[in-house]
């Protein structure tokens, strides 16, 4: 009697979640995809035909190629910098006494409590032509020319690293917590120096955290909007801001939709293949 019920129970139980996702995520995505298959005319608006012209245009146009290249280059650079900053940060945190650790964890994660827009505007104040950076450079006697990182690749990188480094710290921290501290002791007793233990025993065990942190940071950077919009602006477009402009400035919704779909596909492909690589590498090592 309970047979049918038990078999159906999982579906019933997940139904609210599924409905939620289908309605709020699946449907808009499908509609965006369908929209991207229409062509657009500047006089008459969206046409009712079906075509891949938008995709061909985006993929073939060196203007968009440059934006895509810039976006994934930015994502890669931000990820690398987040690894370089976040991993030592998490390691030092894990070695602190418990009282200092809770204070510093709060300091590290605190920025997550502030809106990205507010944090980015803070950077804009520092980077701008009359900002702190300019004042310092003038005070140090590097000439009167304003130093501005606004609308530059460097500026975007710095601001995004600041926004995303906590994700790397959390992720690495979680995997450091799982390491048996005695495996480090075992390393010392076998004659390894502190540095060797760190390099040969601690870091490899933290690798899953570093890799999953990289995925998070990469994905969030590649699809970031607020920070590139404020710091990069029109002059330093990334894919997300380019799609936004197609929608709202050019009003070419189908082209914007095609850009959005391509960003999604590229992101999924990169992350999925990366994930596969990790799984193959670590499946045997960690549960």
């Amino acid at each position: 009697m309970g047979g049918v019920n038990t078999r159906l129970a999982p579906y019933f139980l997940t139904a609210p979640g599924i409905v939620f996702f289908v309605a709020l995520l699946g449907a808009p995505m499908l509609m965006t995809f369908l929209l991207s298959l229409h062509s657009y005319d500047f006089n008459t608006g969206i046409q009712s035909d079906w075509t891949f012209a938008n995709y061909i245009e985006v993929l073939g146009d060196s203007y968009f190629q440059k934006i895509f290249g810039r976006t994934f280059g930015l994502a890669l650079l931000v990820t690398v910098i987040c690894v370089l900053i976040g991993v030592p940060e998490a390691y030092i945190l894990s070695k602190m006494s418990s009282r200092w650790r809770s204070i510093f964890l709060l300091v590290v994660l605190g920025p997550l409590l502030i809106s990205v827009v507010v944090r980015t505007l803070g950077w804009a104040l520092l980077f701008g032509g009359k900002g702190l950076l300019t004042m310092i450079s003038q005070a140090l006697g590097f000439g009167d020319a304003p130093v501005s990182l606004m609308f530059t690749f460097t500026g975007m990188t710095i601001a995004l690293v600041h926004v995303l480094v906590p994700f790397m710290v959390i992720s690495v921290w979680a995997s450091l917590q799982k390491i048996d501290p005695q495996s480090e002791d075992a390393g010392y007793c076998l004659g390894a120096s502190k540095l060797t233990v760190l390099r040969r025993i601690t870091l490899p065990q933290a690798m899953p955290g570093i890799l999953s942190g990289s995925i998070i940071v990469f994905a969030l950077t590649a699809s970031a909007f607020a920070t590139p919009a404020i710091i990069g602006g029109r002059r330093m477009k990334v894919v997300a801001t380019a799609a936004y402009d197609e929608y709202l400035s050019t009003l070419n919704w189908p082209l914007g939709a095609a850009i959005a779909v391509l960003l999604l596909v590229a992101n999924v492909v990169i992350i999925a293949s990366y994930n596969k690589l990790i799984e193959r590498r670590f499946a045997k090592v960690f549960e």
């Binding site: 005695q182 002791d185 007793c189 076998l190 390894a192």
Partner: protein, 347 residues
Amino acid sequence: MSYLNFQALGKQFGDFVAVHDMNLSIDRGEFISFLGPSGCGKTTTLQMIAGLLTPTTGKIFLDGVDITETPANKRGLGIVFQSYALFPHMTVTENVSFGLEMRGIAKTERLERCRDTLAQVRLEQFSDRYPKELSGGQRQRVALARALVIEPPVLLLDEPLSNLDAKLREEMRIELRLLQQDIGVTTILVTHDQEEALSMSDRIVVMQEGEVSQIAAPLELYERPASTFVSHFVGKTNLVQGQVTALNEVGINETRLKVDTGQRAPGMAVQISIRPEKFIMSTEEPGLKVYVETAIFLGASWLYRVNGSLGELFVTQPNTGSARYTKGDTAWLSWQEGSLTLFEEHA
């Protein structure tokens, strides 16, 4: 001449004294066990020997050299941790060869020595597996191989068998002891399992709340425990309260027992300890009359709980193939001279 030597070794964590004033000298090739209840400071002592903890007082000498200040990675001792602490990201061979690599030994020799050591612990065919792919007993043997391959002057084992099931544990005891005798490595085993300590060690150090209670060979420890704590902790025992009534006589309620009382004056409160297996149980007089309350079959032996003029006692008797006593039976207990041990009340 003693090989490993502690002088007034002590460790304090804040106000808490984990190990207090420990003196011990261990000979080359000896197998020593630290035995004691949880939290008595066994691991702390072991970690001080390994160099993972700095002693607050005292000194450690290895082969005449003061190593108290030597860091762990320069001491070169072999240690097997309670959790094994294998490197999960390395294969069995990589785990075992790590210590050799740190000693700058060439790859071919490394592999050869790994193979030999893995053969010693019978793990040759698992050399390419990761720790995750091994059973508990196999992991334990990898940990052992990793500690042995560097040919350490001293092997430190922190409850290495406690994660294994009962049967495997018994097998590993014998295996470990044979291996140790084979190699002749000086070994310190930490355990809270008295059977393990009794069956494997040359000498046992019984610890209680950071202090050494007794250091003795297994048989001596069992037969002549220095205190009620030791007699309780090492093996099972019956403890009864009494009073010296005359020279070599102790009174318990109305019963008089013949015990060596030494110089103790009549009237002194004492405790008598007698091990359950020292009793000879008979269906006939003479002896101490008791009633059987419970009979529990243990396979090789019977455990009886009996009641009589000494109060409640536990008695074990070898299994002779028939149930000789059941609940409610009357029996008479006797014992050989010298089976009783006397402790002053607050020994």
